[in-house]
Amino acid sequence: MIIPVRCFSCGRVIASDYVAFVNRVKFIRENEKREPTSEEIENIFDELGVERYCCRRMILSHVDLVDEVIPYD
């Protein structure tokens, strides 16, 4: 639905990092016309300070569906 505010396992706030992560990935896609490599993704996480894999999976495995339910009130 919408990105959870905190990591389910450890409680770190990840919602704002998700927004930053998506923007960074979009930037690579639009400028380089390719998907980011796994090293680049690792780099983004390191720079955002998302270190533990519990928090990383929150962001990596999220599917943002709010935009799809908005039209149905």
């Binding site: 990105i3 704002s16 908005i70």
Partner: protein, 273 residues
């Protein structure tokens, strides 16, 4: 007993304590996890019905998420905490009322189409209570949807709910020393060059490293024939991060005082009987 800070940032701390037992280390860990008070939104009053904006346009109070979910998300937002504030139960007034000593009130008013962020929460009175992280998305609104609500934040501890948890990833490990023979392989030079501060002892045939500080290259040491690994169960390396409601240093300071306070309560009650 000795405590040294190895690394300190606003929201992250790494420190070592020498001369304690594992049970003392665990007491500190658990205090850090669930006994630090912080401010979090506990009550949300939604406005239902039509909401008018400045230009007189009428919006509806419907949102794509249920009110309960929005209230829950608001609760999880880290708010800057003043440790001098009181728990509501310690105040004189009835528990369902609030006073400036124990409660901070917020309002949120936004009209669609827009994404509502934590930064849209406006505290009544002192602006120092604005959410630390203003970019947490709370809900999305389409055109002619709007949200208007009032929220009350009170002090609590993580013993009651995870929204009052200041720290995350609280962990400790033993201080560890890894000794390898220089003749076995040349990798030691590579490790030494990438993390020189991790070397604690070196002579002409042996070199000793510690992993107190993070060093990715150190995994190579395990490829040596028989690295000698020594752990010290009275020397602990702690680390944790906070959600920003308190600084890492204030959190540690409070936890240490809190432990002392709880033990002195036991001592006092033992003296009476």
């Amino acid at each position: 007993m000795e405590l040294n800070i190895l690394e300190l940032k606003e929201k992250y701390i790494k420190f070592e304590i020498k001369g304690i037992t594992p049970s003392m280390a665990n007491a500190l860990r658990r205090t850090l996890i669930n006994d630090i008070p912080k401010l979090a939104i506990h009550k949300v009053i939604f406005h239902h019905g039509q909401i008018r904006d400045k230009n007189g346009n009428v919006h509806d109070s419907t949102t794509p998420l249920f009110d309960e979910i929005i209230a829950h998300r608001l609760g999880l937002i880290p708010l800057p905490t003043d440790l001098n504030m009181k728990f509501r139960d310690d105040c004189d007034h009835p528990p369902d009322e609030g006073c400036p000593l124990c409660t901070v009130t917020y309002t949120l008013n936004k009209h669609g189409p827009a994404t509502v962020y934590s930064g849209d929460l406006v505290p009544h009175g002192d602006q120092k209570f604005r959410p630390v992280d203003s970019l947490i998305p709370i809900v999305k609104l389409k055109d002619n949807q709007a949200i208007l609500l009032e929220a009350e934040a009170i002090m609590g501890t993580a013993r009651e709910h995870a929204k009052w948890q200041v720290t995350s990833g609280v962990s400790y490990k033993y201080h560890r020393e890894i000794t390898v023979k220089k003749d076995d392989s040349d990798y030691w030079e590579e490790v030494k060059n990438s993390c020189p501060e991790n070397v604690i002892y070196e002579d002409k045939d042996k070199i000793t490293f510690t992993d107190d500080r993070k060093c990715k290259a150190m995994a190579k040491l395990l490829s040596f024939d028989n690295p000698e690994i020594k752990e010290d169960n009275s020397w602990f390396i702690f680390q944790f991060e906070t959600d920003g409601s308190l600084s890492a240093k204030d959190t540690l300071d409070y936890a240490l005082r809190r432990l002392q306070e709880r033990f002195s309560k036991i001592r006092e009650s033992a003296a009476i009987s």
